[in-house]
Amino acid sequence: MSRVRQALPAALLIAGLIGIWELYVDLHGSSFFLILPPPHQVARALFDDRSLLWRSFLVTAEEVLLGILVATAFGALFSVAIHFSPTLRRAVYPLLVASQAVPVVVLAPILTFWLGFGLLPKLVVVTIVSFFSIVVATTAGLAAVDPDLLKLMRTFDAPRLRTFWHVELPSALPSVFSGAKIAVAVSVIGAVLAEYLGSNSGLGYVILVSEPQLLVARGVAAVVILSLFAIALFSLLSLAERLALPWAYRTRDAVPS
């Protein structure tokens, strides 16, 4: 019951925005439909092109999911490495920041040249764009451990690695999730751009080929699916976090005296 009530504001807001969109487009007349199709046309495209959109969605979803997984794994490992070695951190961090400024538009053709039109170059793009947020969040999480706690561990004669394993790593896990959640949105954009620039499948490819064919509504339908996918992915990550780290989510539970 309360779940329905919690979702109500978002549902009302989206319904309102769709209403305004419909009105706005209708006021501009049907020639405007080629720039921005009205919601009812998008809904029709979602239905009419469902098999194409579904097949394309599976392609993009695979790129995004695998990309986030790879980025999280590498990002977490990399964060641990620079946590242990400040020298490595100082050496690599500027490069990491610089890598974020390289536009995917520049990168994708080179990757296509090296790795072809398949899954691999998209995976690389998604990984590159999501890597940064995961590394920044995880490093911050590892560094945020209470210094008094580390002192305590030293008086317990805890070896460095055990302190890491028992104290630092678990306290950084919520940050890994935060990083992955931030990565969700950019990774979807990354996957679409990578498809845009060199592929023959996926929702990005659908968007690319729909507009020259004046099938704008189909392109917008693909965007709608991408948005829903990002929301689903974000919610899934939140759920996974709640299940995996219940201690990070506590409040309002009864406290025994």
């Binding site: 008086t155 317990f156 506590r250």
Partner: protein
């Protein structure tokens, strides 16, 4: 591993478990050097409870960190048997249950989870926390958390316990409760204890000796032997009298 240290005679000439001699410590900060301790001296015989009181910022925590070898003195010497710290905030790990928090020091020395639990379980029982073994800290009351925190330090198996204002964050009622509790625990589990506090009453109720420190830079102003029988009531006239003496040493008009 968690047994009390071997019996040692408690004579005056016995080797001190903690001996801090004429120690000075200065920190460099952006706003210039701050001298925390100046010629601070302190000793504790094995199994003696030394309560250290002083105004805030007088270097009490620095003193404990020197004893725990977390810092080195700029001048003077610190000789101490291995010491385990009990921090002011409980700093329990939120993802571990009470029993796993209590056994943390054993885990970090390589014990398996089962071994650590087996060692901690009888203590939780003794501390009246048996039914909260699997409860996470967030669901425990402040007093319970502090008891787990103390147990965690106790199970580190060090002969010296360095307690840094262990009850400062508790409400007044729970604090009195915990002081009585700690007195009873230390009676059955004697350890060399350096108890830092800003609560003079706590110092007199718990300590065998009270060391009164000056404001920064901290050094010993006076020492008061507390030979009163335990358990001590805070309303007992002799406790009140010693409290007044300690307050006078702090320069407080009672």
């Amino acid at each position: 591993m968690i047994e009390a240290p071997p019996e040692e005679p408690r004579e005056l000439n016995a080797a001190d478990a903690v001996r801090v001699q004429l120690v000075s410590r200065t920190f460099r900060t952006k706003r210039g050097p701050i001298q925390a301790l100046a010629n601070m001296s302190l000793r504790a015989a094995p199994r003696e409870i030394v309560a250290v009181v002083g105004p805030s910022g007088c270097g009490k925590t620095t003193l404990l960190e020197l004893i725990c070898r977390l810092q080195r003195p700029d001048a003077g010497t610190v000789n101490a048997a291995p010491a385990a710290l009990m921090p002011q905030r409980d700093l329990l790990l939120p993802w571990l249950s009470a029993i796993d928090n209590a056994g943390l020091a054993l885990r970090t020395r390589g014990a398996s989870r089962e071994e650590a639990r087996a060692a901690a379980a009888p203590w939780l029982e003794r501390f009246g926390l048996a039914q909260f073994e699997r409860t996470r800290p967030a669901e425990l009351s402040g007093g319970m958390r502090q008891r787990i925190s103390f147990l965690r330090t106790l199970l580190a198996g060090k002969p010296v316990l360095a307690l840094d204002e262990p009850f400062a964050s508790l409400d007044a009622i729970t604090r009195q409760d915990m002081q009585g509790w700690l007195a009873r625990v230390l009676e059955s589990e004697p350890r060399t204890v350096i108890l830092v506090t800003h609560d003079v009453e706590e110092a007199v109720v718990l300590g065998d000796r009270v060391v009164v420190m000056s404001p920064r830079p901290g050094h010993t102003v006076t020492e008061i032997d507390v030979t009163l029988a335990r358990p001590r009531k805070r309303t007992d006239p002799s406790v009140v009298e010693l409290r007044e003496r300690a307050l006078a040493g702090l320069g407080v008009d009672a």
